[in-house]
Structures are given as structure tokens and as C-alpha cells.
């Protein structure tokens, strides 16, 4: 370049050379007619070396031919092509180092013919950052996938342990029940054996028949009790749902509770209102009521009352169970149904009783709430959907 005597041109020249991007002007024949210092530095050439050279010296050899085609096609449709709009190119420096560049093109017709102004940016750093980001992203995704897998594993493990403990809790409850059931079995067993004793000594045929019938009846009583007990112990499966009369389940639970606990000072009063049937396993509904009664008896201590009322709300059968215990501290109201939440001593249960209650209730599309009664004590309100209604998940139950 010749020294410009025009100060305006000199300023322009300085500005061009100081630009952060490489800038060159390519003549009609593909020769470099101008390059700024930035471009020369980028490619490791001296400025003077570049002028007049075919632009291909800036490209790796194998790209040369392709580039010439580009040039020709660009010459036919010269459109401004801003930075980033085209493909990234690979460029080559004087010492053979290859590096990625982004090129912007702008046709510039001059007196000397159609030239093109090319802006070149070395994007190796950007590429490196992009690559690093991509790797980071990959690592992150992998990490997330791993953590998700671990969490799922932990969740499965938790569910398995819980299932196990629920079964254990049921067995504990059965322990309590068994002593109660002892009565349910021993009474008919006594009647049965006393009748059998009489039968062995009886000569009157008609009386023998009557004794025989009595024995059969008592044997059936016992069988029914045993069947009920073994069904109670089974892990819950979603088959054999029946139309369940909630009032009957309540009576059953009350009877069991009265037999199971030494609680002579505690009255259990069930007021049954007619209630349409719900679809469930009867022994599970009985267990729900039994567990809440047990909870109430433990809350009451020596003397008190447990009141059970059935009712109906649009589409629901409701069961309200109230005890005259100390009630539930406000901060515990939300936790009472959580697994292992207990305020009892170490030998009074695992804290799964009410959790099981909620599991059963929600399994049938029902709801349960714990509240404190206005007159003191706790109230549990259970709502079961009527048989034939849809439950919350839209399943037909």
C-alpha cells in the first residue's frame, strides 16, 4: 500500500488494519487485492506476501477445487452473506496449521471490476468452547441419567422395604387379633365339644340329630372366623372386590376391637346410617376401621369413648371415627398418615397403622382426613366412593 497523503484515507487504512476481524478484498479473478493486518496475522503471512495471491492459498489444498466452484457460483449470484449465515470453513496458515474460520461475504462492484469483500474470523477458540460445552452437556446428561437410575433404584428399594414392613405390621396386628380371635374360636369350640360330649352319651336318636346339627353349626362358625383371619393376613391383591356394606365392616371391626384390647373403660359406640355399598375387599375395610379404633384406644388410655358414624355425601359414603383422647397436635395433623410417624413408645407399633389405613382408603379411590374435634379428641373422616362411581384417577372401580 502506498502512503496516503489524504488524512481521511489514512484514518480509514488504520481502522481497517485495527479491525478485530480479518478483512480482504478479492478481485474478479480470485486474487487477493487487499488484506488487513489482522488477516495477515491470522494466517501467519506478511501482508505484502498476500497481495496478488489467489485466495486459495488460505485454504487447505483439497478444499481448493471446491472453493473455486464456490467462487464461481457466488459470482453468478452475488448476495451479501453475513457472518454465521454460511458454513464454517477450514483455513490453513502459512506454516500449515489448520483452523476453523467463519467467513462473511459482500459483493463490491468497483471500477476495477466485481470484487468481493470477505470478513474472516478465526473461530478455533469458539469451536473449542463449543466442544467443551458439548462435552460438559454430555457429562451432565450422563450424570442425570445415572442419578435418575440411582433414585429409581432407591425408590424401588424403599417400596420393597415398606411393603415388607407393612406385612410385618399386619402380622403384629394379627398378634393382637389372635388373642381376640381366641375368644371367637374358643366360644364355639366349647359349645361344639360340650355338644359332642353329650352326643356320645345320648341314646335318643332325635336328640343325637339335634346335637349333630349343633356341632356342624359351631364348626362352620369356627371355619368362618379362621377364613376371615387368613384373609386378613394375605398381602393385598386387587382381586375379589365385593360390594361391601360399610356398616357391617364397622360392626366386625368393633367386635374384634372389643375382643382384642383390655379396655373395659372405653366404650365403642357405632351409629349406623343406611349406606349404599362400596366396592372393596371387606376385610380391608374392616382393617381400616380396626386400625383407627386401635389408634383411638391408645390415644384415650383408661376411660373414654370412641364414636363411629356412617353417613352419605354426594357420591361418597362417609365414616367418621371420633375418640375422646388428647387430640392430635396441630403440627402433627399432616404427618399422622406418614409411614413410621409415631408418638407411641417403642413397643406399641411401628407407626404404620394409619399409613396402612390411608393406603387402603386411597387404593379404593377414597380420602381420609385427620382433624381435631371441637369438643376435644381426634376425628378421622373417611370418604369412600360409592360402587360404580369413578375414582380420582378416572379408573372405574
Amino acid at each position: 500500500m502506498t502512503k496516503a497523503s489524504d488524512p481521511q484515507a489514512e484514518i480509514l487504512r488504520l481502522a481497517l488494519h485495527a479491525a478485530p476481524s480479518g478483512i480482504m478484498v478479492v478481485g474478479e479473478g480470485g486474487e487477493i487485492v487487499f488484506a488487513n493486518q489482522t488477516l495477515a496475522d491470522m494466517f501467519g503471512h506478511r501482508l505484502q506476501e498476500l497481495l496478488g495471491q489467489p485466495v486459495e492459498i488460505l485454504l487447505p489444498e483439497q478444499h481448493g477445487a471446491a472453493h473455486r466452484r464456490h467462487v464461481e457460483s457466488y459470482a453468478r449470484h452475488p448476495e451479501p452473506r453475513p457472518m454465521g449465515a454460511g458454513k464454517d470453513f477450514e483455513a490453513i496458515s502459512k506454516d500449515g496449521r489448520r483452523f476453523p474460520v467463519e467467513i462473511g461475504l459482500r459483493p463490491a462492484p468497483t471500477n476495477a471490476g466485481r470484487t468481493v469483500v470477505a470478513t474472516v474470523i478465526d473461530i478455533s477458540q469458539r469451536k473449542a468452547i463449543e466442544e467443551r460445552l458439548r462435552k460438559h452437556e454430555e457429562q451432565l446428561e450422563q450424570l442425570v441419567a445415572e442419578r435418575t437410575r440411582e433414585l429409581r433404584q432407591a425408590q424401588l428399594e424403599k417400596e420393597r422395604v415398606l411393603e415388607h414392613l407393612i406385612q410385618a405390621e399386619k402380622m403384629t396386628a394379627i398378634g393382637t387379633l389372635v388373642s381376640g380371635i381366641g375368644h371367637e374360636i374358643n366360644n364355639p369350640l366349647y359349645v361344639l365339644s360340650a355338644t359332642a360330649e353329650a352326643l356320645t352319651e345320648e341314646e335318643d336318636l332325635a336328640r343325637c340329630h339335634a346335637y349333630g346339627h349343633e356341632i356342624l353349626k359351631q364348626a362352620r362358625n369356627i371355619a368362618e372366623t379362621v377364613k376371615n383371619l387368613s384373609r386378613y393376613a394375605q398381602p393385598s391383591a386387587r382381586y375379589d372386590l365385593q360390594h361391601v356394606d360399610v356398616n357391617a365392616s364397622i360392626s366386625g371391626a368393633v367386635r374384634l376391637a372389643k375382643r382384642s384390647f383390655r379396655s373395659d373403660g372405653i366404650e365403642i359406640k357405632a351409629t349406623a346410617s343406611p349406606a349404599p355399598p362400596i366396592l372393596a375387599k371387606p376385610e380391608e375395610i374392616q382393617q381400616v376401621v380396626f386400625n383407627i379404633i386401635r389408634n383411638g384406644i391408645q390415644a384415650i388410655g383408661d376411660k373414654g369413648l370412641i364414636e363411629i358414624r356412617t353417613g352419605q355425601e354426594a357420591g361418597w359414603v362417609t365414616v367418621r371415627i371420633r375418640d375422646t383422647g388428647a387430640g392430635i397436635p396441630e403440627e402433627h395433623l399432616k404427618q399422622v398418615f406418614d409411614p413410621f410417624f409415631t408418638t407411641k413408645g417403642p413397643h406399641e407399633g411401628e407407626g404404620l397403622g394409619l399409613y396402612i389405613v390411608r393406603q387402603i382408603v386411597t387404593q379404593y379411590g377414597g380420602m381420609i382426613d385427620a382433624e381435631n374435634a371441637v369438643g376435644g379428641g381426634a376425628v378421622f373422616v373417611i370418604r369412600f366412593p360409592l360402587a360404580g362411581q369413578r375414582n380420582a384417577e378416572g379408573r372405574h372401580i
Binding site: 374360636i185 366360644n187 369350640l189 366349647y190 359349645v191 365339644s193 360340650a194 360330649e197 353329650a198 383390655r262
Partner: protein
């Protein structure tokens, strides 16, 4: 003179079973399905009750309360507990207080029941 055994149990079938087991003895059976009926029968001067057979778990006044009442009001009338709810702690409790002369669990065999009633009637207490 008739000898009476008062059977207090909330289940009619159980009372009938006791009746069946004691049918060939010298005792006549009186039945009460709750403590109040038993109290009324005991208060009836026309009847002498020799032995009381009493259940433990009953609705209303429980067997434990009933036994305590009998012991207070009729200390010379022996009480046999007949329960379907074997409860060692309760049995020990009864023994210590000497409120009952025998503690039987259902199902009890005929011979055992007859022996218990005979012993009670003769004034032989098991826990002495």
C-alpha cells in the same frame, strides 16, 4: 334342697353348653345374659345360688367388675371364671385377690367343669 349354679355369659349357646355338661349332676342351672340379670337373681331370696360361673368379656358390666361385686356382696358364694380369652395376667390377678375359686378356659371338658363346680360347692377353693 335344690343346688343352683348361676351361669353368667352373654352368649346363649355357651349357657346352653354349660347346662348340657351339668345336666346329669345335682345342680340346677340359672342363666343370666348380663351382670344385671345375675345381680337380680342373686338378690332373689327365694333362690339360693351355690356356685357362680362367670364369663370375663361381656358388653356392659364386664366379668371382672361383676366378680368384684359378687365377692363384696356375697363373699361366701364361690365364683368360677369360665373364659374364652385366656389371659394369664388376669388369672393371676384373680388368684391373688382370691375372688374366684377356679379359672377355666373354654373349651373346658365336662369332667373338669363338674369337678370345679363340685369342689366350689363343697367349699374347697383351688387357690388357697
Amino acid at each position: 334342697m335344690k343346688h343352683h349354679v348361676l351361669v353368667l355369659d352373654d352368649e346363649a349357646e355357651v349357657r346352653a353348653a354349660v347346662r348340657l355338661q351339668l345336666k346329669d349332676t345335682r345342680f340346677e342351672i340359672l342363666e343370666a345374659e348380663n351382670a344385671q340379670q345375675a345381680i337380680d337373681l342373686l338378690a332373689d331370696n327365694a333362690i339360693t345360688v351355690d356356685v357362680i360361673i362367670c364369663d370375663v368379656r361381656m358388653p356392659g358390666i364386664s366379668g371382672v367388675e361383676a366378680v368384684a361385686y359378687f365377692q363384696r356382696k356375697y363373699p361366701s358364694t364361690p365364683v368360677i371364671v369360665l373364659t374364652g380369652f385366656p389371659d394369664t395376667a388376669l388369672a393371676v390377678d384373680f388368684m391373688k385377690k382370691k375372688d374366684v375359686v377356679d379359672y377355666l378356659t373354654k373349651p373346658v371338658e365336662k369332667e373338669r367343669l363338674i369337678a370345679a363346680v363340685e369342689n366350689a360347692a363343697k367349699g374347697r377353693k383351688l387357690f388357697e
